[in-house]
């Protein structure tokens, strides 16, 4: 069984080494400081959602001189992500790998980082542990709930009924935090506003997302927010029914020419530019980058036709407030079962908020 010790990958590597040797004059002509950045997406890069938000940032990097961008779409959270990363490192000569899906981290990013100590790997979720994990790995993530708070402010002043709807995928912390922030944003301008949430149970399930949107509108909601992987179906279904919408993850304004208010987007280009700059200067690439409005890591989609002038004014003021550190969660706040969950004012980056497992009073729905 000696044949099995020659892996496909090993063969490819040998082939590349030969090719590189023959192409030496060309590679030497490459300017010093030139870098290659590889990005891996779990779905299609133009999905109007999570993957598109990363792909849009990579497109910005593509325009930076000296930066080569390589991308791979539809990489499942299995052994294939390890193979894709190795191929980017060995065949494309990537200096930095951006692994954008949650399930890529353990064990794939960790193992690859240990195997290739000269390559930087960064993963998009707060998982990197400075004590135990490789030093050439790291995490970056954004506090998207700040942008959902702004969504809520604009939605609260664009709704006639004060009844907002929220189509959510799964009751995990990020989704709950976005939904709660959406409510608090709306309540900051309309104390009687409510948010009704429907969980679909899946990150992407178009038929059920359409059903959930219809059910919310039937229940009287006139603005629909959402947190699903690809909000295209939610936005288009609501638009067809004449309801207003708030986006999530990517720019969905073009999908709803009449009812789009604004949307919550991460600004990954900020992080990616920091990485690229450090690599080109030969400096150390930061292991951990996290933030929200104060360090330009989240943004709101430009306002659509659904936003009223008061909504635009209030939302713009809310963005300025967040940049200055104005807290979103100001106690006393109860969850929708009546328990006191937040006592005083919480910093927007307080670690307690990372443990959120409840829906606030004013949100109709249940986490189980």
């Amino acid at each position: 069984m000696t044949m099995t010790t020659i892996s496909r990958r090993g063969l490819l590597k040998a082939g590349v080494a030969a090719a590189a040797a023959s192409a030496l004059p060309f590679s030497a002509a490459r300017a010093a400081g030139d870098i290659t950045i590889g990005a891996l997406y779990v779905g299609p890069r133009d999905d109007f959602g999570w993957n598109q938000s990363h792909a849009a940032a990579m497109d910005i990097l593509r325009g930076v001189p000296g930066v080569t961008v390589v991308e791979e779409e539809n990489v499942p959270e299995t052994d294939s992500v390890a193979k894709s990363m190795e191929s980017m490192i060995n065949l494309d000569g990537a200096n930095l790998i951006l692994a954008t899906s949650f399930g890529y981290y353990n064990p794939f990013v960790l193992d690859t980082a240990a195997k290739y100590p000269d390559v930087q790997l960064r993963h998009c979720a707060p998982l990197w542990n400075p004590e135990t994990d490789p030093k050439n790995a790291g995490s970056y993530f954004s506090y998207l709930n700040q942008a959902h708070y702004v969504n809520g402010v604009a939605a609260g002043l664009s709704s006639a009924s004060g009844k907002l709807g929220f189509v959510a995928a799964k009751p995990v912390q990020t989704v709950l935090s976005n939904c709660n922030s959406f409510l608090l944003g709306a309540r900051s301008v309309n104390p009687n506003a409510t948010v009704q949430v429907i969980f679909t149970g899946e990150w992407s399930m178009p038929v059920r997302e359409a059903e959930a949107t219809n059910a919310l509108i039937d229940a009287g909601c006139d603005v629909i927010g959402c947190h699903v992987d690809s909000p295209k179906v939610v936005i288009e279904t609501a638009e067809a029914r004449g309801a207003k919408t708030c986006g999530h993850n990517a720019d969905q304004r073009s999908l709803a020419p009449n009812g789009f208010i604004t949307g919550a987007e991460s600004k990954w280009s900020t992080t990616y530019k920091i990485y690229a700059e450090a690599l080109m200067k030969g400096e150390e690439v930061p292991n951990l980058i996290a933030g929200g409005y104060h360090n330009d890591m989240v943004m709101n989609t430009p306002f659509g036709a659904g936003a009223t002038p008061e909504a635009i004014a209030a939302a713009t003021a809310a963005i300025e407030g967040l940049k200055a550190g104005k807290p979103i969660y100001v106690g006393p706040l109860k969850d929708n079962k009546g328990n006191l969950v937040i006592e005083g004012a919480m910093d927007n980056y307080a670690p307690e908020l990372e443990k959120m497992n409840y829906l606030l009073d004013g949100v109709m729905g249940s986490t189980t």
Binding site: G43, F48, E202, P206, V207, A212, I217, D218, G365
Partner: protein
């Protein structure tokens, strides 16, 4: 409480009409195929490929009905491939079906990349709820013409299989290939035509998904609906009229999860979301125990033999 009951009831009726059409088309196509003695598990592939082709055609030509036709043609070609390969000796139709399922979805994903972003013109609905002042009733009765086409087709297939010479030939091929050959019928040709026609219908089911509800093309659009529809055929015991009820029931229970959450019954939504599958299992177990069920299965099916 009666208000809440009304909301859920209307949501389920609306859901049955909105969600059932793709199930109905795929189940009718599969019924025709299985009546001729072949199983085509690849209709999930037809559904996804049909959805992509319909969206792409509608986007390129601006005419959604051209998209529906193109989806049917794509489905026909794919299933004709299945029918042709299965006539070769020692070929297992179930294995070929699984291969064609992956082929269909793979082709759709590959060629569908440029059509995820753009918005294509969609099919219009007929508003049948104009008599009611209740917005919910009006919404539930926004019905796509393809739904009625599906209903008419079910009746037609039922009548054709029962009363016409063609129907008799299809049934005979499915029940006893030896008798069909004795009558001078080309078994392979009948099965090829039945499989290809079944593929046409499944392709149209896909067009409904991308051009009406939910009405956009992306790679998770079907989420296994084509496979469930194939199971519905056994559930409907190879009867086109029962396919209608099976598809409606499946659509209605699918609307249950979101509808219950919208009236505040939000506990246990994972359970309600699984309701259609649980219901299918229960009815399958009950119907499989009856002797009538095994009598109604076409005798030439590889799972029966």
């Amino acid at each position: 409480m009666s208000d809440a009951f009304f909301v859920v009831l209307m949501a389920m009726i609306g859901g049955a009409i909105r969600v059932s059409t793709p199930f109905l088309f795929v189940a009718l196509g599969e019924t025709l195929t299985e009546k001729s003695g072949r199983i085509n598990l690849g209709l999930e592939g037809n559904l996804v490929l049909g959805a992509m082709v319909a969206y792409a055609t509608s986007y390129s030509t601006g005419n959604p009905w051209a998209g529906v036709l193109a989806a049917g043609v794509a489905g026909t070609v794919l299933s004709a491939g299945h029918g042709w390969i299965c006539k070769l000796p020692k070929v297992n139709d179930i294995a070929v079906g699984i291969a064609f399922m992956n082929l269909g979805t793979g082709l759709a994903f590959f060629f569908g990349k440029p059509f995820i972003q753009p918005t294509a013109p969609r099919l219009d609905a007929i508003a049948l709820g104009g008599w009611s002042s209740n917005p919910q009733v009006r919404q539930a009765l926004m019905v796509n013409p393809l739904f009625f086409v599906g209903l008419g087709l079910a009746v037609f297939l039922w009548w054709m299989l029962k009363n016409t010479r063609w129907g008799l030939v299809v049934r005979m091929t499915g029940d006893s290939a030896a008798s069909a050959r004795a009558m001078g019928v080309s078994v392979d040709l009948v099965r090829l035509l039945a499989t290809a026609s079944g593929g046409f219908l499944a392709g149209i089911g896909g067009a409904f998904l991308s051009l009406y509800y939910p009405g956009s093309w992306n790679e998770s659009l079907s989420s296994g609906q084509g496979l469930m529809a194939v199971a519905l055929v056994i559930f409907a015991r190879w009867n086109p009229l029962r396919c209608v009820w099976a598809a409606l029931l499946f659509g209605a229970t699918g609307a249950l999860g979101p509808a219950l959450q919208s009236i505040g019954i939000s506990k246990g939504y994972y359970f309600f979301n699984a309701a259609p599958y649980i219901l299918t299992l229960i009815i399958m177990i009950l119907s499989a125990r009856s002797k009538a069920a095994s009598r109604e299965a076409p005798g030439e099916l590889s799972i029966v033999k």
